[in-house]
Assembly symmetry: C2
Homo-oligomer: 337 residues x 2
C-alpha cells in the first residue's frame, strides 16, 4: 500500500537540489526519503544533516546504487537536478524510471527534448510508458517565464502577432557560480574564447521555450536563432566576487528568436548584468495587446526549486510517458494535496 504522503528522492544535491530537499522537508504532503549524489562529502550522510536540520532519516546514496536505492525506498517521484543536457542526464533518468519512479527534472533540454535530442526523447518516452510512469522537465526557465506563462497570457487574445519576453537580472545579486558562468570581469576576447570552449554557457533553453510555446499555440516555427553576447562595462564596476574594469564583461545578454514565415514570432531575451534591475516583462502584440511586468523579478533558484516542488503532486496523476508542461493542468503552489 502506498503511503498518503508522496515519497520523494532528490537526485543531485547541488544548490537547487538542496533547496528542493528543504522544501520537501517542509511540505505536509511530501516525505523526503533520501537523495543521490556522487560527492564523497555527501554520500552516506543524512540529507537533514546536510541541510543543518539534524538527522531526518533520509540517507544520501551513491549514484552507483541508485536503482536499488529508489526501488527499496518505495519512491513515488524522483526529482532530478543534475545536468542541463539530456544526453548526460539520460542514464540517471533511466535508472529512476527503471526503478518505477515518476521524474521531475530541472534538465533544461528536457523541457522540450524533441528539439535537441529527438532520438533520446523517443527512447525515454517509450521507456516511461513501458514502466507506466511520467517524466517532465520544468523550472523557471524553461518551464515558466519564457514559455508557459506567455502562452497562458495569450488565452485572452484572439490574435497574436509577436511575443516578446525580457528577463532582466541584476547579476551582482546572483551567487558565485552564476557570476562566473556569466563571465564577469573577463575581457571580451576572453569571453568569446571561453564561450567557444563551452566554459561560458549562460542560459540554455531558448529553443526549448520557443518550441514549447509553438506546441501550445499550434504554430509552426521554421527557424530558431540562439545567441549570447557579453554586456560590456561602461565604467568600473564591482560585485562581491568580481572587480570589473571598464571595457570588461559586466554580464551576458542571451537571445532566442523563433521565426514563423520568416517573421519574428517569439523573442526571448535574458540580460544578466551588473547594474540591471530585476524584472520580468511579457509583451503580447496582438488583439488585445498585453504588457505584463513583474516588478520584483523572479529569483531563478527559488523559482525553479518551487516549480519543481509544486509539480510533484501533478506528475503522480499525469498520463504516462515523456510529457511537457503543455500536458499538465494549470500548475500552482500546492499547499495541500
Amino acid at each position: 500500500m502506498r503511503s498518503k504522503k508522496i515519497r520523494v528522492i532528490v537526485y543531485g544535491l547541488g544548490a537547487i537540489g538542496m533547496l528542493i530537499a528543504k522544501h520537501l522537508y517542509d511540505k505536509e504532503w511530501a516525505e523526503l526519503v533520501g537523495a543521490i549524489d556522487i560527492d564523497p562529502s555527501k554520500v552516506g550522510r543524512d540529507v537533514g544533516e546536510l541541510l543543518g536540520l539534524g538527522s531526518i532519516g533520509a540517507r544520501v546514496a551513491h549514484d552507483d546504487e541508485a536503482i536499488g536505492f529508489i526501488k527499496n525506498s518505495n519512491v513515488d517521484v524522483v526529482v532530478h537536478t543534475v545536468t542541463t543536457y539530456l544526453d548526460k542526464a539520460y542514464k540517471q533518468l533511466e535508472k529512476a524510471i527503471n526503478a518505477g519512479a515518476h521524474v521531475v527534472s530541472t534538465s533544461e533540454t528536457l523541457a522540450y527534448p524533441w528539439y535537441r535530442f529527438p532520438d533520446l526523447a523517443n527512447k525515454l518516452d517509450a521507456l516511461a510508458k513501458s514502466k507506466n510512469v511520467s517524466v517532465i522537465g520544468t523550472g523557471v526557465n524553461p518551464g515558466f517565464i519564457f514559455d508557459t506563462l506567455p502562452a497562458f497570457l495569450t488565452s485572452v487574445c484572439i490574435r497574436v502577432d509577436r511575443i516578446k519576453v525580457v528577463r532582466s537580472i541584476d547579476a551582482s545579486k546572483r551567487r558565485y557560480p552564476f557570476q562566473k558562468k556569466y563571465g564577469l570581469s573577463l575581457r571580451p576576447d576572453e569571453f568569446y574564447d571561453k564561450m567557444k570552449k563551452g566554459e561560458i554557457t549562460a542560459h540554455v533553453g531558448y529553443a526549448e521555450s520557443i518550441m514549447l510555446i509553438s506546441s501550445m499555440l499550434g504554430v509552426k516555427i521554421d527557424r530558431v536563432v540562439e545567441k549570447q553576447e557579453p554586456v560590456i562595462a561602461d565604467k568600473h564596476m564591482k560585485t562581491k566576487y568580481f572587480d570589473i574594469p571598464e571595457g570588461h564583461v559586466a554580464g551576458i545578454r542571451g537571445l532566442g528568436i523563433g521565426f514563423v514565415n520568416n517573421k519574428e514570432f517569439v523573442v526571448l531575451e535574458l540580460i544578466a548584468s551588473v547594474g540591471r534591475s530585476d524584472y520580468d516583462e511579457i509583451i503580447i502584440e496582438g488583439v488585445p495587446p498585453l504588457k505584463w511586468r513583474n516588478e520584483y523579478g523572479t529569483s531563478g533558484d527559488i523559482a525553479t526549486a518551487a516549480m519543481v516542488t509544486n509539480m510533484i503532486p501533478k506528475i503522480v496523476n499525469a498520463k504516462p510517458g515523456l510529457l511537457t508542461m503543455a500536458d499538465i493542468s494549470i500548475p500552482s503552489i500546492k499547499v495541500n494535496i
Copy 2:
C-alpha cells in the same frame, strides 16, 4: 465521420456571443454551423448577415428547437453565452448536452458551480458523464484574472500568505449596458435601492474565483465575503452616456475576500469607475513575493470571447463531466489545432 474542423454553435447572440461568432468565423480550425437565440429579430436569419459578413450558411434557430438543431447540425461544441446564474442556464445546458455536444459557457456561476448551486452542479456532472461530453464555465473573470492566472503565478512560490488582485477599469470606456449596470449617475441611495432589487448586479463571480483558487492550491476557505459599493464622484463627471453630478455614482467597487483560518487569503477587488486607469495587478505575498501588472488592462468583452474561443479545442479532448479550469491543461490562444 467527423469533419476535421470543430463544429460549433453559439447559444445566445448577445454582445459576447456575437464576438465569439465572429472569432469562430475567422478561425481556420472552427466551423460556425449556427446559433440559437429567442430574439425575433435574429431567429431565422443567417449569423453571417447579423455580423455584416453576408450569408455564411449558419442559421439562427429558436431556443424551442435547440436540441434537434444541435443534433442535426452534427455539432461538437456549443458555446453558451446566455446568463450568469446556473439555475437560469440549466435548461439550456441540458439541451446542449442531451444533443451530444460539449459545452463552453460564460455563465459566471458555472466557473465553480458547487459554491452557489451544488445540487445542480452534481446533476449536470452526472448528465455530462452519461452523455460522454465535457462542460466548463470560463471567461476573463471568473476564469482568468481573478483565479487561474494568480494561481498559476504561485507555481514559482514555495509559500503563499496572501493573494491580492486588483482589476481597475475606466468605466467611461465601457459600453452602455455596463455603464448602466454599474449605476453611473445615480444618487447613492438610488444605487443601494437598485442593488437590493437586483437591478445593479455588477460583477458576479468573486466567490467562484476564490473557490477555484482554493481548489487549485489545496487550501480550505472557511468564509467568503462578497460586497459591492458605489464609487462617489468627487466632482462633476461625464461619459458618452451619462452626466454625473458631484456626489452621485461614478462607478462601482466590488470586493471578494476568502478567509483561511480567519485571515484574508484571497482578496479580489474590481473597481470600475469613471476616471480610473485600466490595469490589472496581481500581488502574491509569499516566498518569493511577486507583483505582476498588466499596464494595458484586459478588455473584458474581448478577453472573455477570446478565452471561450480558445477553450473550444481543449474541451473536445477533455475528460467527460462538469469541469473547471483546474482540470484543463494550460490554456493559450490556438492558432492551429
